[in-house]
């Protein structure tokens, strides 16, 4: 067949697939001589490779046939039990049955989108929000509509106004997608009362909530200083909680999960069966063995120290070197800070020049922003570069933006 014949076969969904703006920048960003604030990934040096290797050995010694075989669709039960125990400590009420393993939480988002969203359905998203979720919603031809997020949490007046208007127009508003803790890309968080208020508002508006929480355990504060309890602990019957080991143990294992009400889980299970039968038994069994034999909490504490140190280094250097007309968020956890440029600068059009002149890269914010002008924003991560490189990169970027402001 000719290429044109093949493309003529593409489904309406496939025609709506959203190319990743970030992955499109890869040639610019993956040059190893470029200092990168752009990566959207954790620092792989923080992954406990040796302990995971020992866990792999234990798994293959103790249950080779099971670990190498297909599993039930909800996934390796002993890991689901550990997940449910652990999230119970954070206020979730479900048990292992109310948990389904997914190929990272990205697959969780996709699975939830397939089960909940028809073409044209509205899914409310934060402004800004995770670009990978927008790609997933686009692949369902759902309609993302933005709700403002600020330092305190979601703007609930705006939420109510948007939902009321959309419903008056006859739109079907299916769900609200939120990352309450240490959000990607903004680095913003919701404190406990903000979560209480959001849970209440969602209930009043009859909104089902997709709560994405890949960073929830990566708080920089002392235990108790920040309330990272999930929304799902407040409204278990109307929240699907998405968790992940990708930021804490091994992104390359692709192990995430969804916890939610039983009636939803049953349908997610059917959907996942048709999607891939089950996720990897082997990587799930390794994580379970890791959790059984190692001190995961101590490991998490180490990660928090690691990322807090990097964050402080970067933000300190930004304060020293960035011009005063730029502002940025001070994240309480996670991997990102969100920078606002002065009126008139466009982060995307400046990027090629910035990389060429300074050998330093960031991610333009535009593709994270579904409504309003996203051109003044950019995302920076402190996860990848060493402390000296964080300082040097901030210095270079500061000089670059100073020059652009003129």
């Amino acid at each position: 067949m000719h290429d044109g014949t093949v493309t003529s076969l593409f489904s309406a969904d496939a025609r709506a697939f959203l190319p990743s703006a970030i992955r499109a920048l890869a040639p610019l960003l993956n040059d190893p001589s470029v200092l990168s604030f752009a990566a959207g990934v954790p620092n792989a040096e923080t992954f406990p490779a040796r302990a995971l290797g020992e866990a792999a050995e234990r798994v293959l010694a103790s249950m080779p046939a099971r670990a190498l075989q297909y599993d039930v669709t909800r996934g390796f039960l002993p890991l689901r039990e550990r997940i449910a125990e652990r999230t119970a400590r954070r206020g979730l009420s479900g048990d292992a049955t109310d948990t389904i393993l997914t190929t990272g939480s990205q697959q969780g988002l996709d699975l939830l989108s397939r089960v909940l969203l028809d073409p044209g359905d509205v899914v409310l998203v934060e402004v800004p929000t995770y670009v990978g979720a927008l790609a997933t919603f686009a692949a369902r031809r759902a309609r993302p509509v933005g709700v403002r997020r600020n330092e305190d949490g979601l703007d609930l007046e705006h939420l109510t106004e948007v939902v009321t208007r959309l419903r008056a127009e006859g739109s079907i508003v299916k769900a609200l997608y939120t990352i309450p803790n240490f959000q990607n890309p903004s680095g913003l968080s919701m404190n406990g009362p903000a979560k209480d208020r959001l849970a209440l508002a969602a209930e009043e508006l009859s909104l089902f909530v997709l709560e994405d929480d890949p960073y929830g355990e990566l708080s920089f504060g002392d235990a108790g200083a920040y309330d990272a309890t999930p929304l799902a602990s407040r409204s278990p019957s109307s929240v699907a909680y998405l968790g992940s080991f990708s930021k804490t143990l091994a992104a390359g294992f692709r192990v995430g999960w969804i916890q939610g009400p039983p009636v939803l889980l049953a349908r997610l299970e059917l959907g996942k069966q048709s999607m891939d039968l089950c996720s990897s038994t082997f990587t799930a069994a390794i994580l379970e063995s890791y959790l059984a034999h190692e001190d995961y909490d101590a490991h998490i504490d180490g990660l928090r120290d690691f990322y807090r140190g990097r964050k402080e280094t970067l933000l300190g250097a930004m304060a020293a070197h960035f011009p005063p007309s730029l502002s940025w968020t001070d994240p309480k956890g996670g991997l990102f800070t969100w920078v606002t440029l002065p009126e008139g600068l466009d982060a995307r059009t400046l990027l090629p020049k910035c990389v060429a002149e300074t050998r330093t890269a960031y991610v333009p914010g535009e593709s994270f922003v579904v409504e309003g002008d996203g051109r003044r924003f950019l995302r920076m991560t402190f996860a990848k570069e060493s402390p000296p490189n964080l300082v040097e990169g901030a210095r270079r970027l500061g000089a670059f933006f100073r020059g652009e402001i003129g």
Copy 2:
């Protein structure tokens, strides 16, 4: 929210999800005291656990950060290179770029369905066909239409007739789904000339072909005795080839792949990005290291001996114990034989009685059959039970059916 409120949110696709008839039988089939011809899975004892463990060690010693990190969406390049080298020996022309790793070939089917099928589109399937593919097509609300399969291959007259009729009715016939080699569930195969004829017919009818080949290397014959070259080697521009390591190395690793024309691969990549970013880097890297250090061909030869031996044992016992009014296929490879009961017997309604009376289980054929009466058929695998159990199970089943025929 009440359960009813949550279910009211389900998408049209989710309402069409097809519960797996086989998984629904699990309580009956998973009783360890029941001799099972029902499992649809390879024998996990054949997986090279020790060599895979050594490969895992090598991977974690040599590239921990890479193996534990996210990968590009098409997946771990060195494995794609080995796959392309290996399939080139079987006649495929694409290289690593024309290959995308998937979470088992089930995800490959799902990905292809999302890219190619709109609700209502026709996908032609063999009668009988793999029930997991039917679940995937159902989740897209596509319309599977059956084409007869016989000892020689697909019934091409029937294929032409069906396509002509459907198109005259205004239906959109998007693709043909086929398992040419050692089919699940029928155990039937197509020899070389049958594949040549099918490739030609598909071209004449402008049918894109989804070629599912999880069993292609598990031939029971001498090398050369059966032509297992893929359809994709005959029509590379109009075939998506689905391969898998699930039957040969480790189902629980969930590593499969698609090879196909570049214009399709680019769209599959976008789709997969939104679905899970990438499949597991770690399991892909382990398989690559295994292929680099071990003699995979020798391992495959061992598998062929293993399954051939089991097949001969089972079919020998069936010939000795089954009543003459039953017939079955003699597979040239793979894991299954397909049994036809005499007129009047219904494999599904008999199953509970059979399990209760004989402690022996099979899979009723009905859910593999999209058109015509599937009640007289059942699928048996020789993959799971030991040779003495295969004989004993065949003896019990033979006595049971003899009693039912009366």
